[in-house]
Structure formats: C-alpha cells, structure tokens
C-alpha cells in the first residue's frame, strides 16, 4: 500500500501528511510538483501550505503543475485523492471538486481545534467514520470560505457531496457551513481542516479525557488503507 504526498514550492504540511500515512500503516511516497511520474502509488494526498506563495489565487498555479495534471487524469479513473487545506484549494482550481474558496469573511487568519460533522461516509477517505459522527481536528487558514453559486450548492447538497460540515461555529463564512466535499464517485475528497495534525496521542487537539489526545484525523488515512485493501 503506497500513498503519495505531493510537495509543491511552499507546501508546509507534506511532512505531517507523510507521517500520518505511515501511522495508518501505509508506505508514504514523496512526489515532486515538477515530476510527471506518480510512481505507481495507490492514492495521493495534496497537503496544506501556501503553494507558489498563494500567487494568483490559492492553489491556482499548483493546479497547473505537471504532477497535478497527471493526478487529475488518474483521479478521473478512480485514483483516491485527498486534498487538505491548500490541497483542497488545488482540487477546486483543478475542477476536480466544485465551488471556490475565498478569503475568510472576517478577514483574519484562523487557527483552532474545529468540531466537524462527517456527513458522507461512503468515500475512500471517510469509510471508517459513522454517518454524522462528530470529530475535532485542527483548522488553520486565511482563505477557507467555501462558496458556490446557488445552482451548484443545490446540486452538491442534493447529491450528498457535502462530506464535512463545521459544528458550533462557522470559522470562515463558508456557505452552508461546508468544511469539505467529495466527488460523486467518492475517490476525491477535499477539506479545509487538517486531519494529518490529529493522528498521534500527545500532538492532537485537546479531548475531555486528556490534553492533546485527539486522533480523529487518523481515520482518514486508515479509511484509505481499508478501501485500497478491499479493492
């Protein structure tokens, strides 16, 4: 089981994503933005950060990179892809997921442990959650406001593509409290919060039982491992 993690100039969370993949029991494979060879990986993670300095628009230049062109082609054939934060922005810029992400409505960067509801569990990356399970993982973004026109919003709600919704507070003004989405097939998932920062006791969000013990993010990666084994 080999899961690729792409590094772009300006990626920040690629190392954490690699660690999360390893903790989930898969072999991480580093992929470079300028390569075209996906090295036969079984799945891909597009990590968080500020690819290309967020120039033009967040994720816009990364979406045109050689490796992402390959990933888009493979994703359309079913390759599992998880886009986290900047990776989610890359996925919408590459049109693998609908809508867009704009500056937070309050104009400030937000960094907090964020409660989410998992609304879709028949995806490659969420199958180990139960429907409507509440989880908490870190969120950190300046441009995480999800928006789409009314028709698109109606469609993604109607087709059940909303995969994660913010609970408690809407931290960035996202339409319908949408925190993450998947494509129809469920192989492509994108979200603004960071599952890779909540995979190991001692380093995750605070939980009632113990400080920093939250590991709700690990299930994203173990979900992918289970899905790939089941294939």
């Amino acid at each position: 089981m080999r899961i690729g993690v792409v590094t772009f100039p300006g990626s920040l969370d690629d190392r954490d994503a690699i660690r999360a993949v390893r903790l989930a029991g898969a072999e991480p494979v580093s992929l470079w933005h300028a390569d075209t060879d996906l090295q036969g990986v079984d799945a891909v993670v597009l990590p968080g950060g500020f690819s290309y300095g967020d120039y033009l628009r967040c994720g816009a230049i990364a979406a045109q990179s050689r490796i992402v062109k390959e990933i888009v082609a493979e994703a359309e054939q079913g390759l599992p892809v998880l886009g986290i934060c900047n990776g989610f922005q890359v996925l919408v810029e590459a049109h693998l997921l609908p809508g867009g992400l704009i500056r937070n409505d309050h104009g400030r960067f937000v960094c907090r442990d964020q409660a989410l509801r998992v609304e879709r569990t028949d995806t490659v990356w969420t199958n180990e959650f139960t429907k409507n399970q509440e989880i908490t993982i870190p969120l950190k973004n300046g441009e995480g406001g999800f928006i789409a026109d009314d028709e698109t919003l109606k469609r993604i709600e109607g087709e059940g593509l909303v995969t994660f919704r913010y609970l408690g507070v809407n931290p960035n003004g996202s339409s319908n409290d949408i925190a993450g989405l998947s494509n129809e097939r469920g192989n492509v998932v994108g979200l603004m919060p960071h599952p890779e920062h909540a995979v190991e006791p001692g380093f995750g969000p605070d939980q009632p039982e113990a400080m920093r013990s939250g590991i709700d993010g690990l299930s994203f990666f173990t979900s992918a491992v289970s899905a790939l084994i089941a294939r």
């Binding site: 033009l56 628009r57 816009a60 045109q64 919408v92 810029e93 609908p98 809508g99 867009g100 704009i102 500056r103 937070n104 409505d105 309050h106 104009g107 406001g145 928006i147 789409a148 026109d149 003004g173």
Partner: protein, 85 residues
C-alpha cells in the same frame, strides 16, 4: 511590442473581505467621501507583435481559463493598453 490589460474583479454578489478591510481603514483615517471599496486585479500581458484581434482573443481565453477563476471572479475587461497607461 504591445500590452494587453486584463481586469479581474471578485464577483459582485460575493463578499470581498479585502475590500471591506480597506474601506474600514479609510473610515478610521477619517475619510468619509468613499463608502465602499472592492479590490480586484490587473494583469498586463506583453505581446510580441501588435495587440490585434487574435492577440486579444488569446488574452480573453487565458483570462477566463486561468487568470480569473470564474467561480469566484469576473473578467471585467480585456483591452489593448493605451500608450498613456
């Protein structure tokens, strides 16, 4: 050599938090003349030959496809730059 100017603005119906922040700063400076601000982008594309119809068409195509994300932004103009610009 000629220059083609492409102007891109956030869609009118969407929040423009950047424009709001600038408007707030103007208010704090005591300006009362301006009631709202919206912030967009201007691209200047240098072309090898003249800014003819073909070059303008090519500029329009990349503007819609790449310079703007038409989910969140509008291309409001694509034009040959005046010399005075």
């Amino acid at each position: 050599m000629a220059v083609i100017v492409v102007d891109v603005m956030p869609k009118a119906e969407l929040l423009d938090p950047q424009g709001k922040a600038v408007a707030g700063a103007l208010r704090r400076q005591g300006h009362t003349t301006f009631t709202a601000v919206r912030v967009g982008k201007r691209f200047e594309l240098t072309v090898e030959g003249p800014a003819d119809a073909a070059a303008l068409d090519a500029a329009r195509a990349i503007a819609e496809d790449f310079l703007a994300n038409t989910v969140i932004e509008d291309v409001v103009s694509v034009r040959a730059a005046e010399d005075a610009e």
